[in-house]
């Protein structure tokens, strides 16, 4: 009989306290990792880069939007400070590419002559419309799986940005010993390793107008930045204000400590 004390598990628990969700036992997923260049939005002075967000938006619009909604983001947000920095004219043009429900018309009709609901081009005040009419349709078009809304995805997963980046760049051929489900794709970063989403990004899936080379890593990096922004649109403002607040509090603490010493100077305590 052998004594196997699972020290790994015990140490693991401590690591997990710092970095929740790290899975390290054999057979479990690899750990999500950041891209080599790191994230511009992490750290005390974290911020977004407009060009990156614009490229990320392009990736979302030309690839992900076919399957994923962005329910909580309005077109107007694309022109908000601390965001991708599109001009209002650009935003109008982007919105006009989408159709949103319209009507009733002045006669109270809600259907056109073909019996289809009225639609109109979107305006900046509209929210990104879902690519599906309802959940059933979404599932029917995706082998029974439901593509989640992406507005909050980077906050809705442990270690979200790293996870998303790793997921998008992590597709590989299934190892021989893995029995794949029907219409499933192997991705070591997805819980269970089998995901219904086909690999969405391939070399050159989009063509960047600024000439950046559209490698899988580059597109994953850009779209993750974009989806971080959709989840935390006030991040830049928050971190900037945080610095001012912390600086103020440090000075206040110093002044109060000095006052405290003054007030108590003649008291034994």
């Amino acid at each position: 009989m052998s004594l196997t004390i699972r020290t790994g598990t015990i140490i693991g628990a401590f690591v997990m306290a710092l970095n929740a969700g790290a899975a390290m036992a054999a057979g479990e997923a690899e750990r999500p990792h950041a891209p080599q260049e790191g994230w511009s939005f992490s750290g005390i002075f974290g911020h977004y880069e407009e060009t990156t967000l614009q490229r990320g938006f392009l990736v979302y619009e030309s690839v992900c939007a076919g399957c994923h909604a962005l329910e909580y983001v309005a077109f107007r947000n694309l022109a908000d400070p601390g965001g991708p920095g599109f001009t209002l004219d650009q935003v109008r043009a982007i919105a006009a590419n989408y159709r949103v429900p319209a009507g009733p018309d002045e006669f109270g009709d809600t259907l056109d002559e073909n019996g289809l609901p009225f639609v109109r081009p979107a305006i900046p005040a509209n929210y990104f419309p879902s690519p599906y009419d309802n959940e059933q349709q979404a599932r029917a078009r995706n082998w029974g799986a439901l593509p989640p809304d992406l507005s909050l995805i980077t906050k809705a997963r442990v270690n979200g940005a790293n996870y998303l980046y790793s997921l998008l760049t992590g597709y590989e051929d299934a190892p021989e010993y893995v029995e794949m489900g029907e219409n499933m794709n192997y991705n070591p970063f997805f819980p269970g390793q089998q995901i219904a989403m086909v690999q969405p990004l391939y070399e050159g899936s989009v063509e960047y107008p600024d000439g950046t080379e559209a490698t899988v890593e580059q597109m994953a990096y850009d779209v993750t930045n974009f989806l971080m922004w959709t989840a935390e649109p006030k991040l830049e403002k928050r971190k900037r204000m945080g610095f001012q607040v912390m600086a103020f509090l440090f000075v206040l603490a110093a002044l109060l400590y000095w006052s405290y010493r003054q007030v108590w100077r003649d008291v034994d305590h």
Binding site: T4, G160, A253, H269
Partner: protein, 483 residues
């Protein structure tokens, strides 16, 4: 000690007011002239910090309530509306959400301060018990609040916690259905939880007033645990403790604001950014960190109590867990009478002191157990062995397989005339739930065994005669006490 009023109305208006409604006198006597032991350390600043936290939660909460909608179909969206469209909504929400964690951090420090310095002992039993009531109300309020954003954790925590009531025989299920307003958590649950989440903080406010009133009758305890003997032991609250409390509050704010601005979601659960879905159960349902030790106690009892050697079950495991959970808080009410030592401060209780630190370890350990899956294996001795044992030509043979299925398949394959028996030799596994049970026992042992017994058998260290003497001994070595 309650003290004589020293209020002197300074203007005609103040005299006029004082003769009709002496609020200025009350404020002056309670928060300005109030004689306070001069040896209070920083652990005593958390009372003020807690009051601040309550006010912050109420102010931010009322602002959130102006923009929040407690309808299950749009509650999640209304929180996102706050985060994205309301001016500084993100800031208000993060202050409120992080604030609840900070509130609990402060209250835990405040409670352990009381445990260490014996602040629950005569004459402060009621003061302590009012504190325990505030703590219970805080847990209820935070739980209700956590449900409001109507994310996955909101929904499933509400489901798990209200399910606790079904463990009570006969009336349990009706109570649970009455609480959630239906057979399952849904819109009626959300609307009533919002209503109650709005109400309870004001109830807390009322109990806080009683708590402070009781404090002002008995006066503060202090690190020496010796009652105030006279004016030489005290100083007026203002300016001495106002400035010290203000300094400590700003240090606390530095930690609080670091979370708000740089890691606002670190203390929450990512699943709560997924809208509630009754059809999808999250892999791990966990409450917020501050409720984890109690969650561990609830889940660590997995055996029924019955009459030995019969199948008769008297108390089912689930109910036993609920009883343990309730008892773990009720025992706090009894603490003033469970501790048999007359000495308050652990500074002078050499035997009790290590138990106090052990108790902290037990509570943190319970928190860890609460966060993990109960089946998680911590220590395993040996490997699982699935054996097929049979006799070939008079010789006993045992064959070992890695899984039961392999073994069974093998037995199937054997010739029919061979009598094979399946023997499982499972490895010894020490799991989270076992650690949880040990820690739960330790938690109760601290109150029910350690505190009563140590108080009787311990020889306390010699104590200074007064606060004044304790202070002088601490400050400079020589001079003889004034009296």
């Amino acid at each position: 000690m309650a003290h004589e009023s020293t209020y002197q109305p300074k203007s005609g208006f103040e005299r006029w007011l004082d003769a009709r409604l002496p609020v200025m006198r009350l404020m002056h006597d309670s928060f300005s002239a109030f004689p306070t032991p001069k040896n209070l350390n920083y652990w005593w600043t958390f009372g003020g910090i807690l009051t601040f936290c309550l006010v912050v939660q109420i102010v931010t909460g009322i602002t959130l309530a102006m923009h929040y909608t407690s309808d299950a179909s749009i509650a999640f969206g209304s929180v996102e509306h706050i985060m994205r469209d309301v001016n500084f909504g993100w800031l208000i929400r993060y202050i409120h959400a992080v604030g609840s964690s900070m509130f609990f951090l402060a209250v835990y420090i405040h409670i352990f301060r009381g445990l260490y310095y014996g602040s629950y002992k005569e004459p402060r039993e009621l003061l302590w018990m009012l504190g325990v009531i505030i703590f219970i109300l805080m847990m209820a309020t935070a739980f209700l609040g956590y449900v409001l954003p109507w994310g996955q954790m909101s929904f499933w925590a509400a489901t798990v916690i209200t399910n606790i009531f079904t463990a009570i025989p006969v009336i349990g299920t009706p109570i649970q259905e009455w609480l959630v307003g239906g057979f399952a958590v849904g819109n009626p649950t959300l609307t009533r939880f919002f209503s109650l989440h709005y109400l309870l903080p004001f109830v807390i406010f009322g109990v806080v007033l009683l708590h402070v009133w009781a404090l002002h009758v008995t006066g503060n305890n202090n690190p020496a645990g010796i009652e105030v003997k006279g004016p030489q032991d005290t100083i007026p609250f203002n300016p001495y403790y106002t400035v010290k409390d203000a300094f400590a509050l700003v240090l606390f704010l530095l930690v609080y604001m670091a979370f708000v601005f740089y890691a606002p979601n670190a203390l929450g659960h990512p699943d709560n950014y997924i809208p509630a879905d009754p059809l999808v159960t999250p892999a791990h349902i966990v409450p917020e960190w501050y409720l984890l030790p109690y969650y561990a106690i609830l889940r660590s009892i997995t055996f029924d109590i019955g009459i030995p050697f019969t199948d008769i079950v008297l108390i089912e495991a689930k109910l036993l867990g609920v009883i343990a959970l309730a008892a773990s808080i009720i025992v706090l009410f009894l603490l003033p009478w469970l501790d048999t030592s007359k000495v308050k401060s652990l500074r002078y209780r050499p035997m009790m002191k290590p138990f106090f630190f052990l108790f902290i370890v037990v509570c943190v350990g319970l928190g860890w157990v609460g966060a993990e899956s109960p089946d998680k294996v911590l220590i395993q001795i040996g490997e699982d062995q699935y054996r097929a044992e049979y006799v070939v030509e008079g010789e006993p043979v045992a064959q070992v397989f890695p899984t039961a299925d392999d073994r069974d398949a093998f037995i199937e394959m054997l010739n029919e005339d061979v009598e094979a028996s399946a023997v499982d030799a499972l490895a010894f596994r020490f799991q989270m739930v076992h650690l949880g049970l040990i820690l739960t026992v330790a938690y109760f042992a601290h109150f029910l065994l350690v505190l009563p017994i140590v108080g009787v058998i311990e020889t306390p260290r010699s104590r200074p005669a007064s606060i004044e003497e304790a202070v002088l001994k601490g400050a400079k070595p020589a001079p003889a006490p004034a009296e």
